[in-house]
């Protein structure tokens, strides 16, 4: 196998390179010049994000363990964009004194999880998939526990690592059954020889729960809120957008390519869980005061909506899911970016701290409102188009009851999103968050988010592009 074949895994290689660069920089940089590392790594990552868009060969290596195709490349690029935004947003946070000695850890861990996700996405074999999964999970636990001196952070870390261990255990157990019945781990071979025996279905369901854990689908979502609340905000953002996005990507790929035979089964499973996820997520979100926890539940209900794209098993569905993840990255990172900026400036994370925010920080409030409207699916911002396509995808296969339940759920979510808008615009506050000016990085990131939120919707070419790359059963 000629070495240039390895260029297929360009994303992973580049990311690894960045990790190494950061590592070396960490080793050789002067202790009080660590701040430079931030710039360095951000720039490096920016470069590789750009490089990711270069045309790349498709194909497989390692005997089909690693598959690279247009859609998967696009997914990786989408994730890259998201991580780029996260990095930009977390600059201010990293510059704080208490993080000065952990800068490179942050980047290394984060990028290595991204590597894991990339492998996971382009895996053609369950071993590769599993490695990617774990690589994408374990460092995040460390990141969640990043703030050594905060109880919540540690708690978040332990909860995440233990539950993920449990879930991966269950997932593996399922895999072992599938292996036992079919004797292979290759997606292709499983797809062809998969029959409808109970054992296989059991195996599939255990696999399903493992993925459900990553996407935080009810009833496998309970860790989400606590971890999101405890972890540092940008880690939460990362969890809620990137790792969830990656899981969604690989999940839809696996469902469509590996388990098309038992579509009837997983449609039922998704039918139930999506309804549960939307409703429970919304119902919990109503009551939240802490914004991170609030956004955690909102992201749970979002996962419920995303499942509507799965259920049809159709090309439109996959397209709308990928598209929605893109939109969701912009919207959610917009919201988290505002939360992060404010928490950096004032340390406030509760909704009623935001009262009267508009009068002191109009720009931030407007961005927040835009992001929330996008999450709620209000036109003309991108979220509206995303949701519309998801619902269309479900309706195309005639799941009208599900669609109706979903649209009614959007009303509940609109309600709690409006609660924040209300706090920012309507309510008065005797001691509002005073006016502040955040760093160029943050503003750039937020600018990108706003641009994404506004443009992504109208740019029909983008959706067409995604749609052409995606496939149905």
């Amino acid at each position: 196998m000629s070495p240039d074949k390895f260029l297929i895994m360009r994303h992973e290689l580049l990311l690894t390179a960045v990790v190494l660069v950061v590592l070396i920089a960490e080793v050789f940089s002067h202790p009080d010049k660590k701040g430079k590392i931030i710039t360095l790594s951000v720039i490096c990552f920016g470069i590789i994000t750009a490089l990711g868009f270069l045309p790349s060969a498709e194909g497989e290596i390692f005997g089909g363990m690693y598959v690279s195709s247009g859609s998967r490349l696009m997914m990786k690029n989408i994730l890259n964009i998201g991580v780029m935004l996260v990095f930009l947003q977390s600059v201010d946070w990293l510059r704080k004194a208490e993080n000065s000695d952990k800068i490179s850890e942050y980047f290394i861990l984060l990028i290595s999880t991204l590597i894991g996700m990339n492998f996971m996405i382009s895996s053609g074999h369950f071993l590769m998939f599993y490695i990617g999964l774990e690589l994408a999970t374990i460092p995040i636990a460390a990141l969640a526990a990043f703030d050594k001196y905060r109880n919540n952070s540690a708690e978040a870390g332990i909860k995440l690592i233990l539950i993920s261990a449990l879930s991966s255990g269950i997932l593996l157990y399922g895999l072992s059954m599938i292996y036992g019945t079919l004797g292979t781990f290759y997606f292709k071979e499983i797809a062809v020889s998969f029959s409808n025996s109970n054992l296989q279905i059991l195996g599939f369901i255990y696999f399903f729960t493992g993925m459900a854990f990553k996407i935080s689908i009810v009833p496998f979502h309970l860790w989400t809120a606590d971890v999101y609340e405890g972890a540092p905000i940008n880690i939460t953002a990362y969890l809620s957008v990137i790792s969830k996005g990656a899981a969604v990507f690989i999940f839809i790929i696996v469902l469509f390519t590996v388990f098309p035979v038992i579509i009837a089964t997983w449609q039922k499973a998704i039918y139930l869980t999506s309804i549960l996820t939307m409703t429970i997520g919304n119902l919990f979100a109503i009551r939240q005061q802490n914004l991170k926890r609030f956004l955690a539940f909102s992201s749970i209900s979002q996962a419920g909506y995303i499942l509507l794209g799965f259920i049809g098993g159709n090309q439109l569905g996959m397209a709308s899911v990928i598209y929605y993840i893109l939109v969701y990255i912009f919207s959610n990172l917009g919201a988290f970016g505002v939360v992060l900026a404010i928490s950096n400036a004032s340390g406030k994370e509760n909704i009623d701290d935001y009262n009267g925010l508009y009068h002191t920080n109009p720009k931030l409030s407007l961005i927040m409102m835009l992001a929330l409207f996008s999450l709620a699916g209000i036109p003309p911002v991108a979220g509206y188009f995303g949701k519309f396509f998801l619902f269309t995808a479900a309706a195309e296969k005639g799941f009208y009851p599900l669609v109706i339940i979903a649209v009614l759920n959007t009303i509940i979510s609109l309600y709690y999103y409006l609660l924040i808008v209300k706090a920012m615009f309507l309510l008065k506050n005797e001691s509002p968050i005073e006016k502040f000016k955040s760093s160029m990085y943050t503003r750039f990131a937020l600018g990108l988010c706003v641009a994404g939120i506004v443009v992504t919707g109208f740019a029909s070419a983008l959706f067409e592009f995604i749609r052409n790359l995606s496939f149905g059963i």
């Binding site: 490695i131 460092p139 978040a156 233990l162 255990g169 157990y173 895999l175 004797g183 009551r287």
Partner: protein
């Protein structure tokens, strides 16, 4: 071929180990013990893989490799988990899982 030991035995053992692990995870209060329980689960999976590989598909070694990787991953997982547990101990002065519930509802 291990004479006289049919594959079912291994599967039964694995299943018992699996549920023992799950039970342990759900009932033991000590974080370390819970971690060990998860190891139990993973190992049951390993047994499954090996047994299947050895009995049903002896010509290919996938199961074996998979279990190797599982062991490795489990080790790293344990490493991270232990580190966090230590931090927990620093912060909470206990590793009883029931006391680690500051964030709820």
């Amino acid at each position: 071929m291990i004479t006289g030991v049919p594959v079912q035995y291994f599967l039964i053992l694995a299943t018992l180990m699996f549920f023992a692990g799950v039970y342990g995870f759900l009932t033991r209060r000590n974080l370390i013990t819970m971690l060990m329980a998860t190891e139990l689960i993973l190992n049951s999976v390993n047994i499954n893989f090996m047994a299947f590989n050895r009995y049903l598909y002896p010509q290919k070694m996938e199961g074996m490799f998979f279990s190797l990787f599982v062991i490795a991953v489990a080790a790293s997982e344990a490493a991270v988990a232990i580190a966090i547990i230590i931090n927990i101990y620093r912060r909470f002065a206990t590793i009883n899982v029931e006391d680690v519930n500051q964030m709820k509802f």
